[in-house]
Every structure is written in C-alpha cells, then in structure tokens.
C-alpha cells in the first residue's frame, strides 16, 4: 500500500511525536500488516482480472446466470493455483539464470 498517497492533511494534524515507544512500535507493526494485506488484495484483484478473462468466455453474459457454472468455478480455482505455480517457475528460473 502506498502510504504516501494517503491524504497529508488528514494525517498531518495528528501529533505523532508524543507517542510512546511502545505505541510507535505497535503502529509500525500495524502498518506492516496493513501493507501486506493491501498487497494481497491487489494480487487478488489482478488474479481475478486474468482468470475471469480465461475462464468466463467472452461474449454476452447469459441472462440470470449470476453464479459461476460447473466449468467456470473449477477453472477459476485452477487458474489461481497454476498462476502461483508459474510464479514459482519464474522465480526458480531467474535464480538459475543468475548463477
């Protein structure tokens, strides 16, 4: 999460200098956790984008078919798993090329 994009006026009014060391540490931990959660959320958005294109065929959406059918649902789940497998392959290959 890009904390720099948080509006400065809303955070700038707060006096953080008076926070105890313990509070500062707690805040730091909190920010780290929230950043990770935001990264995960962003990944989920990106994955849904990619997998929706692959798994839900292009063209007009059928009327009233709001749920994923018995082909689309497993496709979405496989898509997530295969994408992460592929991610691992990429990292592994890059590491190999580095050495």
């Amino acid at each position: 999460m890009d904390l720099a994009s948080a509006s400065p006026s809303s955070l700038g009014n707060l006096d953080l200098s008076k926070l105890s060391d313990r509070d500062k540490q707690e805040l730091q931990q909190f920010v780290m956790n929230e950043s990770q959660k935001a990264r995960i959320q962003a990944s989920i958005h990106s994955l849904t984008d990619t997998c929706f294109r692959k798994c839900v065929p292009a063209g007009t959406i059928k009327k009233g078919a709001g749920a994923l059918d018995k082909y689309e649902e497993p496709c979405m789940r496989n898509c997530v798993d295969r994408f992460l497998d592929a991610n691992f392959v990429v990292l592994r290959e890059l590491e190999r090329l580095r050495n």
Binding site: M1, L19, A42, T60, A67, L84
Partner: protein
Amino acid sequence: TYGKMDGLGASGMSAFSSDPKTQVMRQIQQEAAMQNARMLVEKLNEHCFERCVPKPGSSLSSGEESCFTTCMEKYMTAWNTVSKQYVARIQKESQQGGSGGSSF
C-alpha cells in the same frame, strides 16, 4: 456485498478511542478499504462494459443494464472464489516453510 468480500479487514478497534495512534490506524484502514473499492469498481466497469456493451449506442438499453447486473454478480462471485483459493494457498505455502520462496 462489500462486506461479503472483505475477508481481510476488521480489526475490532474501539469506536470511542480518539488518541492519535488509533486515529492513524483507522485512517490507514480507511485508505486501504477505499483503494480496494476503487480497484473493484474499475475492474467491474472494464469487464462488464466489454461484455455487455459491444457497440455503444446513444444510451444504455435495459438489456445492457440487466447484463451489467448479471455480469457484476458473476465477477464478484469469481472474486470471492479467487480470494478463498489464494488465501488458502498462501497459508499452505507458509506452513510448508516457503522453500519455494514465492514473494507475496
């Protein structure tokens, strides 16, 4: 429907605290929630416009509008499926010691 999708939120902070620390924490969570909502709206619009409005006319027909409703439902169901699968996968990999070293 946003509540259904927010599997990663909710810290359970007291609603009455107004000390600087809690204010910052709440602010950060709000920013994250807004960012999440922005991304969702962007993707919904993109996907459903592509599918439901193949040839833009002078207005949106009622058929196109109901296509949007169905499309949005479908996309959000897909989002939930991906979210569950993804989180389950990360948890599994972190339990296995992450020897794969994927960076999430």
